[in-house]
Symmetry: C2
Subunit: 202 residues, 2 copies
């Protein structure tokens, strides 16, 4: 795991810090996060963290990149057979129909982090890259479906942005409202949209 | 304006405080908001504000309700002729294709306020009500289109939730990323979805 190949750009120490950050975020939320708490979870001193990251923000920006790397790595392992199923798979990973407690907490943490992007340039750049990578992942699946004749010849970029916006909006609503049925309703409608928009008319 | 009819539930003083809050939020953002700054903008003492609102959070919760009241009042004035056009009108108001500076700032303010809803119960209740009212507004237009035979007999609730999630997600992305073309791409795709999903097949 400590190699420097493009796919494994995270050192073992960095991976451990990222895992410690993740656990600390789940327990304390974004508001309760501190370098001290991450160091406690990491089982080393604060100095050990500062050796790798200049500041809490620096560490959190790295954490976001780590999370997307993990997500993409998982997606690339679990998809590739059937564009329709792959699309549903990515959507389910981004917006689980029935999220467990950890997924809920992660979504709330991401909303806290993302709100910082309004004023914090480093966070904004990172969320720009995250959305770009997610839109690219979705767009590639759609384009593959078109190339293989399974989807109609739609504008894969636009459809990808539409799916990403719907997923992000529903996730946002789940973390910031008590409208428990709304995300599922949006998901069901999104699936029927994918069916009607992408399926070739026969 | 100081009557107590259901449509005009805000007193003149309350309306002035809400206007002062809005201006202060536009200038200082959510992070820079204080009762002192609102009082300065209002042209009265902090005590005058505390006479109406117990705390900054209390005032901000009222501000959110005021903003939605205003939005609904505007929508009810500007719609009612053609369900397809009405739907596009509401979407354009929620997610302008080319937002001006004030609209951008308002969206950033809303993202800051909404992130508080993850941990603040009063904010969460208010955003629950806001999304509920927006989904109801969208659902009613869709239902009217169905009743008038202009739309297919879709599930108006689900379609409304889908539209709201897409609009909220695109607005969220606009405020937290530099992906300048993404919201417009999602909007264009949303419009073609509305066309394909709602238009009767002839």
């Amino acid at each position: 795991m400590a190699t420097n190949s493009p796919d494994e750009k995270w050192s073992t120490a960095e991976e451990e810090i990222m895992e410690a950050t993740y656990q600390t975020l789940l327990v304390n939320g974004y508001a309760g996060l501190s370098i001290s708490r991450i160091a406690d979870e990491f089982g080393k001193s604060k100095a050990a963290l500062y050796y790798h990251y200049d500041s809490k923000d620096d560490l959190l920006v790295a954490f976001l990149e780590f999370a997307v790397d993990r997500f993409e790595s998982m997606i690339s392992t679990e998809t590739g057979e059937n564009p329709t199923e792959d699309l549903e798979h990515v959507i389910e990973k981004l917006l689980p129909l029935q999220p467990d407690e950890e997924q809920r907490q992660l979504q709330e943490v991401l909303v806290g982090l993302r709100s910082q992007a309004v004023t914090n340039e480093a966070f904004r750049e990172q969320f720009t890259r995250i959305d770009e990578r997610l839109a690219t992942t979705l767009g590639k699946i759609i384009q593959r479906g078109i190339d293989e004749g399974m989807f109609r010849d739609v504008d894969s970029t636009r459809v990808a942005e539409h799916i990403l916006a719907t997923v992000n909006g529903a996730m946002y609503a789940r973390a910031t409202t008590d409208r428990h049925n709304a995300p599922a309703a949006a998901r069901v409608s999104l699936s029927s949209y994918i069916d009607s928009e992408l399926r070739p008319t026969t």
